[in-house]
Amino acid sequence: MAKKTISMRRDSHEESAAVIEEAQAVEQTEAEAILSEAQAEPLPAAVKKPSAGSTFAGAMKRGVILENPVLRLVLGTCPTLATTTAASNAIGMGIAATLVLICSNTVISLLRNIIPDKVRIPAYITIIASFVSIVQMLVKAFAPALDESLGIYLPLIVVNCIILGRAEMYASKHAPALSALDGLAMGVGFTTALLCMGTIREVLGAGSLFGAKLPILSGQPILFFSLAPGGFFVFGMLIAAANKLSKKNNLPVRNGCGDCPAAATCSLSGKGGCK
């Protein structure tokens, strides 16, 4: 009797182990299917047509609305959260990043046939770092107040995912003029998103707009919005709004590694992504 129960228990153990294995295998294949589906998924027509990307209006629409680097691609989150305590800082950061983006996109696109594939990431980083140093010196000389308020985030533009991501995804494959246009579009999108966040946080958190005190709000500012938690909160709400708008217009909500610009260099992309 005992032997029978033991063997029954062993069988059910094996059975459940087999079931678990099967479930894992199904999960694995499902995950792979989803991944390959996401990668093979055709982009919405407005983004896919080459003419839409190469006209000025098309590129700007793509950079600001359809593929906004902050709200849709969710890149460059660190400066978004840190520099948006005041709207003027937000604009300053946006303009600095746009300058670097345009210049580095152009140069990388000009050199795209010369840089060997193996050393392309260090080469991109060198080019981007040079432009960041130039912008740093320009800001220090002509806008020292902005330099004070941006602090460490000005040199940190060099590791901004947007710039490296666009260099990898776009500038290395397209002509200089198109790359510069793409840089401008992405930069304007970045600045717009930053300006949105900066305005909300400054108006609610300090009761002023670009330094000018507002009538009722400056009497009772909600300090929460100027501090760290407020940054996360406003960013979350903005992404929720962007998601809602994109669902209404049937744009894909970004998921998985197929959309991530770093997918080519990321070692997690083969293993189901970092999410």
Binding site: P122, A129, S133, L156, C161, A228, P229, A240, C266, C274
Partner: protein
Amino acid sequence: MNMFRMIVTIILAGILTNNYVLSKFLGICPFLGVSKKLDTAMGMSAAVIFVMVLSTAVTYPIQRFVLEALGLEYLQTIVFILIIAALVQLVEIVLKKYIPALHASLGVYLPLITTNCAVLGCAILVTEDYSSGAYGFGEGYVYALSCAFGSGVGFLVAMAIFAGVRKRMESCDIPETLKGLPITLVAASLVAMSFLGFAGVVHM
């Protein structure tokens, strides 16, 4: 304040009051991306601590003895980022060859950390906080390393807490608009708010 007390203060400040993720907004991308499961979060944090301490150990002397001695401070950004990128690449190769077990668990995250704000941010911040004007090299070096270590541990604490929060959120009923990243950010905002309570606890 003697050195030991200063080191402990710096480490505690790095974890509680100057938390890199929750107060300084450095290293947000891995914070939001890799914190879904506790073991990946821990792996990422261990890699971040390792790279942060190593990079500071290399960049701080270079700032003192090369950049400042030759008057080349304006090259700080370029030199630092290239050193960090090269260092991480070297570490990956060495780990792969000599400690394959460690490479299997940490190696995946190393390329993600190269272009991470936290590492470059730490390298630049310690050269400003413990600059040659205020501290001699030996003293400043020890404080810089403890600052890097403390910030890394702060990153680990923030990741661990957040991984727990996200795990609890998985079983919650979330409105459709807020699903995914928005609710994650709201959760991060609440965790950051709790850390605000530590303000003033550590006097630097």
